[in-house]
């Protein structure tokens, strides 16, 4: 692709007007991101080291460059932090386990129904995700069908419930981010030349070996993209924990939300936001390096 750029760039005359065009195209969009993404982050960084004005009203803070805010924020909420990452990791692994075979089946086993099945993967998206999450709550809930079936057959005790548990939260997250996992994996499986798999079979690899040595490595870019697109929103999510969880399943998103809106503790909310973002960015960088898919960015 780099070559294509070079080719077209030399073809269009690099005159003064030609040099300006890409910058003119970039300007409005990047300005928008600068004003409403970068600047808020800088402002957030600045907020994160503030302290309450002594004797001031709630929500009044002054800049004291107190880095201890970060230590406090983290140590007070380390349980929610680790829960966020564990839940997000579990949801990502589960989503991968469900999505990969699904994407594989659509890419290689669906024949002429391929397009329709793809539409069906995206279709649930169009029903509001909150409605679907609430639906899960009711399906898994005390008055819902799952519990009554399980109780009828005495598979669970009368006092065991599914809703308001960590299991429900993880189920909900897995469910909500499933298409984000399926679509990139499908896209990279789709691109694989089926002759490569035939060649592997021709070279004495059985089905499993072919998958392990040829298909899966070639679908890695899709797996990496899918896991990132699932993990990132899952780690910052608080909707599933709020609707499907209980007070002991609170994630870091819930803490940030309540610090912001209920307690009006902006510095802590800011410090938590930054810690979360930094942790995710570090994880992503390590992950992308390890997976050898640097070109993704």
């Amino acid at each position: 692709m780099a070559f294509a750029h070079a080719g077209t760039a030399t073809a269009s005359k690099p005159g003064r007007a030609g040099m300006r065009i890409p910058y003119l195209l970039l300007l409005p969009g990047l300005l928008w991101l600068l004003l409403f993404f970068v600047l808020p982050l800088i402002n957030l960084a600045e907020t994160s080291t503030k302290t309450p004005i002594a004797g001031g009203e709630t929500g009044a803070y002054e800049q004291t460059f107190r880095l201890q805010n970060y230590v406090d924020a983290f140590s007070e909420n380390s349980a929610q932090f680790s829960r966020s990452f564990i839940y997000a990791l579990l949801a990502t692994v589960l989503a991968l386990a469900i999505s990969y075979p699904l994407a594989y089946a659509i890419a290689f086993k669906s024949g002429k129904y391929k397009n329709i099945l793809l539409v069906l993967v995206i279709a649930p998206f169009f029903t509001s995700f909150l409605l679907r999450t609430i639906a899960w709550k009711q399906i898994l809930g005390e008055e819902g069908p799952v519990i009554s079936i399980l109780r009828t057959f005495h598979l669970i005790g009368a006092d065991t419930s599914i809703t308001a548990t960590a299991l429900a939260v993880i189920t909900g997250m897995t469910y909500n981010f499933l298409p984000f996992m399926t679509l990139p994996i499908y896209a990279s499986l789709e691109r694989i030349d089926p002759r490569l798999m035939e060649a592997s079979g021709d070279l004495y690899a059985n089905g499993l070996t072919t998958f392990r040595r040829v298909t899966f490595p070639l679908s890695m870019p899709g797996v990496v993209a899918g896991t990132l697109l699932t993990f990132i929103p899952a780690a910052g999510d608080y909707v599933n924990a709020q609707i499907l969880g209980n007070p002991t399943t609170k994630m870091i998103g819930n803490v940030i939300d309540s610090r912001f809106f209920r307690i009006v503790d902006y510095p802590t909310a800011a410090a938590l936001s930054f810690t979360l973002m930094a942790a995710i960015l570090i994880l992503i960088t390590v992950y992308i390096r390890r997976a050898g898919t640097d070109e993704l960015i």
Binding site: L102, A105, Y266
Partner: protein
């Protein structure tokens, strides 16, 4: 039997995955026909009355209207801005390319709650009251990156020879763009716009931070979820689902019918 099973294992697995995907959708749809009172939690009996009066619940249609307005504006702006960036990245070499790529990637790698919280903190610092326009601003911000990625992929898959052919056939730079590049990239732009609209329409976290007292459909659902979501919300969710499905499927049928017609003609 075992052979059949092992041969079709993956199909069965996929079928189960689809069932998992559609259970809540089916549930939401079913309960749109529930003859419930305010609390739409337990099945009370079948009725069409929610469908005949989707605005029956207070606020629900105002919220829906806001969501559509915000979605439309966010789609319009983010598609224009994102497409411009995608063309710059896909068709020109320039200094600052890596920085631009990073700036596009970062919003996608940032949890929504951080995006929402930081933007609200800035608005509050500047003394701006969050409302309709701050929501639009926020939505455009997080949609741009997705538009860039979608359109850029389409541009990258274009054969540069087609544009060369146009120039060779007496098309000026503008005509080449207008007659060849743009029509060929258009499906990518349309897909990006669709994506932007659905992201905007369905967004809750960022909206919740930046919309102040303006109600949107997801916010309406969230607030009412504590007491039980009215069946009218299920009607709207189901209708959105059916409309989108109808659009996609009829587009599919149209294009395959067109292909068949052309094939038959000769």
């Amino acid at each position: 039997m075992t052979r059949w099973l092992s041969k079709n294992l993956i199909r069965i697995y996929a079928a189960l995955a689809f069932i998992y995907l559609f259970i809540p959708v089916a549930y939401t749809m079913a309960f749109s026909f529930n003859d419930s009172g305010k609390r739409n939690l337990i099945w009370q009996g079948f009725t069409f009355k929610n469908w005949l009066n989707p605005c029956g619940a207070p606020e629900v249609c105002t919220a829906l209207g806001n969501s559509i307005k915000i979605g439309f504006l966010a789609t319009l702006f983010s598609t224009i801005l994102g497409t411009m960036i995608a063309f710059a990245l896909g068709r020109y070499s320039f200094r600052g390319r890596n920085t631009t790529n990073l700036l596009i990637f970062l919003p996608m790698a940032t949890p929504e709650i951080v995006l929402g919280a930081s933007l609200l903190a800035m608005f509050l610092n500047l003394g701006i009251n969050p409302g309709f326009w701050t929501t639009v601003i926020a939505h455009v911000m997080f949609c741009i990156s997705f538009v860039v990625v979608t359109v850029k992929a389409r541009i990258a898959s274009l054969d540069p020879k087609l544009e060369e052919a146009a120039r060779d056939l007496y098309a000026t730079e503008w005509q080449t763009f207008r007659r060849v590049t743009l029509p060929l990239v258009a499906p990518g732009i349309a897909a990006a716009a669709l994506l932007a609209f659905s992201l905007s329409f369905d967004d809750f976290i960022i909206t919740n931070f930046n919309s102040g007292t303006v109600n949107t459909f997801p916010k309406f659902v969230w607030v009412s979820s504590a007491r039980g979501v009215p069946a009218q919300a299920n009607v709207i969710g189901s209708a959105m689902f059916l409309i989108a499905l109808a659009i996609v499927i009829s587009a599919q049928i149209y294009s395959s019918a067109k292909a068949r017609r052309l094939q038959k003609k000769h």
